[in-house]
Assembly symmetry: C2
């Protein structure tokens, strides 16, 4: 690596001093890859991500295997991660059956996934928004009883492929409902990547006005239109300290029509470290991990930082 | 295009209401492409960019053809653009010989290019920083006499591949020198794409303290590490209203070691329009132009917005 291998650390005003990256590559990423990755490779991937300093590595999903065949091996995978503290390994849980499976394996952190729009709730869950919330209610009640931490993912917070721009009040309503059901934190998803920084700051302000503290909000941006990092910077300025990202940008082939384009963790870490914000992540180890995973998948990573750093080696 | 085809317009606080995009695809972009593009295609490209509403389209370079063979046809190209107002068509001029050629063709807007670091001045111009400034002095004096508008490009304002992070005071010194020589505006270049938003805001503040008004500053970010749009947002917050970008991200193959990664104009326009900032650019026409140019070059565009929009058609 040359002398230019790291950015100059220059803090912008009013930003948090530390950000917790919620790594979604092993779940949201691999779930959207065409290649089904062997269980042992997944386990090594998660171990390497945890070893690179990522505090939270979403591990898998307990959705019915019929819907997500890429993650059908949750029962085989989770025991292979036994040396990582369970609170670092959230898992996706759609319903009570999924919760049973997760609890049986010792999961201590789960996530449910709702939608801010009716169109996506119908497409993804075959339910209305309110029917989906009703489905989560017993999951959340039982999770609370078991003292399990619950994250609520909310898709389509900014735009929706069928409905277009999503009104801020509509997103706020569903956020409020998820918190009232007992979610400990929310992840605001720009599932199709259309948001811009002003929209992000206005949604966050509207949530604050509705009584939701920023400390309970994470952001989950997609880079479909190249906006993810600008939106993240806008969210940091609002005080957000939890940011979702996917190692190597896993989760959407940049050359395919279906590109979902998760924000690449490497691009995020580059910005955060340049801003003097602590993450605990070792960028070299993270980059090596994503290069290794890209080879296992047989396709190049869309992360720009990853490409720039790995070409220098 | 679906209902999601445009972002919701939500203005962030304190941003300019209008931004002038300085389009560099036909010069900075094509100069760095391996393919030498026929003169007629270049002329059509520039016409289409101007017709798409880009107010300024950098047209070509009067550097010696030996150094930039891709732009050796400046004398043939410029007359083909006669129906576009010359003040919309800046050209690059390295020295008095280049100025003679540009003036003979009726150019009314030129750009010189300096370096904030000694290493790059040596590599690019085979001169020290101060020797390069001395070379520009008579060019600027004569341009002023001819009432020609002069932009000063400054490379390596943030980081340098040999020297690493560039001290802010060093960049400020060379900016000041270029303005004192008579430059009407400066373009602050992050040539290797390592800058992060705090660094951008601190450099702009330091320039203001040194007596340089923001109105004379443009920014020129590269997306090598994915930071270009976040840095642009930070610059807008500081009041910058001139932003350089390259149609389709031309100017660095994303798959090659030499990737320079100009910020794609489409990604920039998506953000600006989402922020409710006027640009005068018709995104559909711009996208169609970049798709056409990518076909002429025989390679896909690295612009994410371009890919997202063109896949929907």
């Amino acid at each position: 690596m040359t002398a230019a291998g790291l950015p100059m650390e220059v803090t912008a005003e009013g930003l948090p001093t530390r950000v917790r990256i919620h790594e979604v590559g092993a779940r949201d990423g691999l779930q959207n890859e065409k290649t089904v990755v062997p269980t042992e490779i997944k386990a090594e991937f998660i171990h390497r991500l945890a070893d690179a300093g990522l505090p939270v590595v979403e591990a898998t999903s307990f959705v019915h295997p019929k819907w997500v065949p890429q993650l059908a091996d949750a029962e085989q995978l989770f025991p292979l991660l036994g040396d990582i503290a369970p609170h670092r390994l959230p898992v996706l849980v759609p319903n009570e059956r999924g919760l049973d499976r997760a609890l049986a394996l010792g999961a201590r952190r789960i996530a449910v996934f709702g939608s801010a729009t009716e169109s996506f709730a119908k497409a993804n869950l075959n339910r209305t928004v309110d029917e989906a919330l009703a489905m989560f209610a017993p999951v959340l009640a039982r999770a609370k009883d078991a003292k399990v931490h619950v994250r609520g993912y909310l898709s389509m917070c900014f735009g929706d492929p069928w409905e277009g721009p999503v009104p801020i009040a509509q997103t706020v309503r569903v956020c409020r409902a998820l918190l009232d059901l007992g979610c400990d934190e929310l992840s605001l998803g720009d599932t199709i990547g259309v948001a811009t920084p002003g929209h992000v700051q206005h949604l966050l302000a509207a949530l604050n006005e509705a009584g939701v503290p920023t400390s309970r909000l994470g952001v989950h941006f997609h880079d479909t239109y190249g906006q993810a990092l600008a939106n993240t910077f806008a969210a940091l300025q609002h005080g957000v300290t939890t940011v979702d990202a996917s190692a190597g940008g896993l989760g959407g082939c940049p050359y395919a029509k279906s590109a979902t384009g998760n924000l690449a963790t490497e691009d995020l870490v580059w910005m955060l470290h340049g801003l003097g914000i602590e993450t605990g992540v070792d960028l070299d180890r993270l980059t090596a991990t994503s290069v290794w995973m890209a080879e296992a998948l047989g396709r190049p990573s869309p992360s720009r930082t990853l490409r720039a750093l790995s070409h220098k080696e």
